[in-house]
């Protein structure tokens, strides 16, 4: 379909006196967070209908997985939601561990939880930056990225790469953590406590931010469930669901943390839930720093990655929401099929419901608070 044509099922009606028109937002647009195309039916600045179009960066990852070994697929999971790459690694590794029927030693469990929570903070910091940036405050963007750099430095030291970590393996990880990992995390947490106070003062209490986000893009409880939303978006609508609590994996059941929720399901709630989650992640990290076993093996006995034929499913809570990996294993080291259940796709599907009657400016705010990552939708 050419860019100038209307999408199918998209009718311009002339019922009122004003004239409706069609605006093409994306795939090259500063605030669609990647190559996403939104077809908008507008009346003046008010959006009447929105149709999202995906597929501009579809790479056929799930099809490629069929001709890859399991270990090669872990590297592919980095390229899905690149902001939560380390957590995606864990999701795939957990599914493979189910197939291989192995566990991991305690030290490895702590490494996993700590790196995943660091990844969650990094992802939420990007959200913080993009939210402020999309509202017009470019300074937020840089503020959010400043602390994220520190997390990436830690990840670089542990995994060897900053963004696409490719770190966890069934039964362990590629390396053990270096000696100064715990002190480094500790100093990061101390720094983060202070900077979070500044950040919250910068946006949370800002009257323009509140004016622009309270009551905007309300997603009701029923809609959130019906569209299959998860993560902070679901929790902001008032549903207390977190895979870490409801279906605990790794050692989350032994750690103390709360699941922040809100009631209204508007943009400000989604923002607040994410900020509260950063605090919860820091709480988890503090506990892990205290409990981290100094001695002990960091991986289980090395085994070839071969799954027994069968179907295995793992789900984890990434920063964006529920990340499920469904592996249909043929005998041997290659899968028959791997399917990923990503969190961003249902969120974008719910976008039409949320933006109707709002303006283009609100669409940008709503998009920012959904925090979608397009490569994860177009796998």
């Amino acid at each position: 379909m050419s860019m100038t044509q209307l999408p199918p099922g998209f009718k311009i009606t002339r019922e009122s006196n004003t004239e409706e028109f069609f605006v093409n937002m994306g795939p090259q647009h500063p605030s669609t967070h990647g190559a996403l195309r939104l077809a908008l039916r507008m009346d003046g600045e008010t959006i009447i209908e929105l149709v999202p179009h995906f597929g501009y960066i579809h790479r056929g990852m799930e099809k490629q997985a069929e001709s890859m070994t399991y270990l090669q697929y872990i590297a592919m999971s980095d390229r899905q939601d690149y902001l939560t790459a380390i957590q995606n690694n864990l999701g795939v590794a957990l599914a493979l561990e189910k197939g291989m029927n192995i566990g991991v030693p305690e030290r490895q469990e702590y490494i996993r939880v700590m790196l995943c929570e660091l990844g969650r903070i990094a992802s939420h910091l990007v959200f913080f930056g993009c939210f402020g940036g999309d509202l017009g405050g470019q300074t937020c963007l840089l503020f959010g990225f400043k602390e994220r750099e520190m997390i990436h430095d830690i990840l670089e030291e542990v995994t060897g790469s900053r963004l696409t970590t490719n770190f966890f393996r069934p039964g362990g990880s590629r390396f053990d953590v270096p000696e100064n990992f715990i002190p480094r995390v500790k100093s990061f947490l101390d720094h983060m406590e202070d900077s979070m106070k500044d950040y919250e003062r910068f946006l949370s209490k800002n009257i323009i931010v509140q004016e622009r986000s309270i009551g905007i893009g309300i997603l009701s409880k029923e809609d959130a469930i019906a569209y299959g939303c998860s993560g902070p978006v679901l929790r902001a609508s008032g549903i207390d669901f977190d895979v870490r609590k409801n279906n605990p994996y790794s050692i989350y059941s032994q750690l103390e943390f709360d699941v922040p929720t809100a009631r209204n399901g508007d943009c400000y709630d989604r923002y607040n839930v994410r900020i509260a989650e950063i605090h919860e992640s820091m709480r988890i990290l503090r506990q892990c720093v205290g409990k981290f076993p100094a001695e002990g093996p960091w991986r289980s006995k090395e085994k070839p990655v071969k799954l027994a034929a069968g179907r295995y499913y793992s789900e984890i809570e990434t920063a964006k929401g529920l990340y499920g990996t469904y592996v249909v294993a043929a005998a041997g080291d290659k899968p028959y099929r791997i399917h990923t259940r990503g969190p961003s796709f249902p969120h974008i599907a719910a976008l039409n419901k949320m933006v109707q009657g709002h303006t283009v400016s609100d669409l940008v705010t709503i998009m920012a608070t959904l925090d979608p990552v397009i490569p994860e939708i177009d796998r």
Binding site: V23, S31, E45, C140, N206
Partner: protein, 372 residues
């Protein structure tokens, strides 16, 4: 001696006319009419050059300053590579901008499309001509200074509307309509607050307004009328920010929403002209704020003779630009701190808050003038 045999017509003309001219010149020099014409032309040329130099010359400085202020607010260093602390970076950017292809998308109204950036440039240039930069440094010392500024300032919106309309792009059109509504609305409170100044000083001549603020710092408009003067200054700051389309009121450009707004389709030099107009508007609005509220070219005397003597030794134009750049710095800090309100919130802020407050200010100003 070699005498050329070929006749030289030019030589003949010179030989014939030079004595005549020499005879006429002493008379001509004493002629009032000719002298005033020449003086007027020389004066005009100097004025045009001065206005252009102040305006266009300040643009690269402002771009560099904006990048540095922005960078330091955002915990960065900004341009550092080209020249000392990246000082040559701006020149490189300007060169890049000038050498870019001037491209226009299909279906644009070419005359309007290329006229728009020119019209946008006119308004700030004309305002600059009215500002007294020093006790004797003013291009046009007109009695109707303030009304003229209000009239001329409204000119910029025309160029923006033209640019947005002729670009044949829905984002440009949305941006242009937004900015049209915004600038026309904020012009009202902009004018109101200048009227407040006129009411207190009793003159619309900018030189008179400046001279009425001579003396110590406490004689500046911002402190002269206790509290009210400061509130007026803040109101002027807000409405002039909106008037200039600067963040946080840059909803007409709104990169995140409209990918650049009214200048989405412009490239190369026409785009640079929009950019230039924005920065010149920044200078002229800061200059206006300085003239009306911060004592113009007067030194910030504190009433202690020993200190004031030294302060007054610095030429007025230096004080003037120091104040202007301080104002510009304030505008920049605001720009890089706040997020942008939505277009309907911006309009309701103007019509439901700023305008009533301005009207109240006018009443208070009238009472003040009547009492003191």
């Amino acid at each position: 001696m070699f005498v050329p045999s070929i006749t030289n017509p030019i030589g003949d003309v010179v030989r014939e006319w030079v004595p005549k001219l020499a005879e006429y010149l002493p008379v001509a020099i004493q002629s009032e009419t000719l002298n005033s014409i020449v003086a007027f032309l020389v004066n005009a040329v100097i004025c045009v050059i001065a206005v252009c130099a102040v305006n266009i010359g300040s643009a690269p400085i402002l771009i560099y300053m904006e990048r540095k202020v922005c960078a330091h607010v955002q915990c960065r260093l900004g341009p550092m590579r080209l020249g000392w602390h990246g000082t040559i970076q701006t020149i490189a950017d300007v060169l890049k901008m000038l050498f870019k292809e001037v491209y226009n998308p299909g279906g644009v109204d070419k005359i309007m499309y290329y006229m728009a950036p020119l019209i946008v440039l006119i308004a700030p240039f004309m305002v600059a001509a009215l500002i007294p930069f020093g006790p004797t440094l003013v291009v046009a010392d007109v009695d109707m200074g303030i009304p003229l500024i209000i009239a001329v300032n409204g000119f910029g919106v025309l160029g923006i509307l033209l640019g947005g309309w002729s670009s044949n792009n829905k984002y440009s059109l949305l941006g242009a309509l937004r900015s049209g509504a915004q600038m026309i609305s904020y012009e009202i409170s902009f004018a109101m607050i200048l009227l407040f100044v006129v009411m207190i000083t009793g003159s619309t001549n900018l030189m008179d307004i400046t001279q009425s603020q001579s003396g110590t710092v406490l004689d500046w408009m911002i402190f002269k009328v206790p509290v009210i003067g400061f509130i007026a200054f803040i109101l002027f700051f807000i409405s002039s920010t909106a008037e200039m389309n600067r963040a946080p009121f840059d909803i007409a450009e709104a990169e995140q929403e409209l990918t650049g707004g009214y200048h989405t389709e412009y490239t190369g030099t026409p785009f640079a002209m929009f950019y230039l107009a924005e920065y010149i508007a920044l200078v002229t609005n800061s200059a206006l704020a300085t003239t009306c509220f911060l004592g113009g070219f007067h030194a910030p005397c504190i009433g202690v003779a020993a200190v004031d003597t030294y302060l007054n030794m610095v030429p007025g134009v230096v004080w003037f630009f120091a104040k202007v750049y301080f104002m510009i710095w304030c505008y920049m800090m605001v720009r890089w701190t706040f997020v942008r309100p939505r277009v309907d919130q911006l309009m309701s802020f103007e019509w439901k808050f700023l305008l009533p407050v301005n009207l109240v200010m006018l009443v208070i100003g009238a009472i003040y003038v009547a009492l003191f």
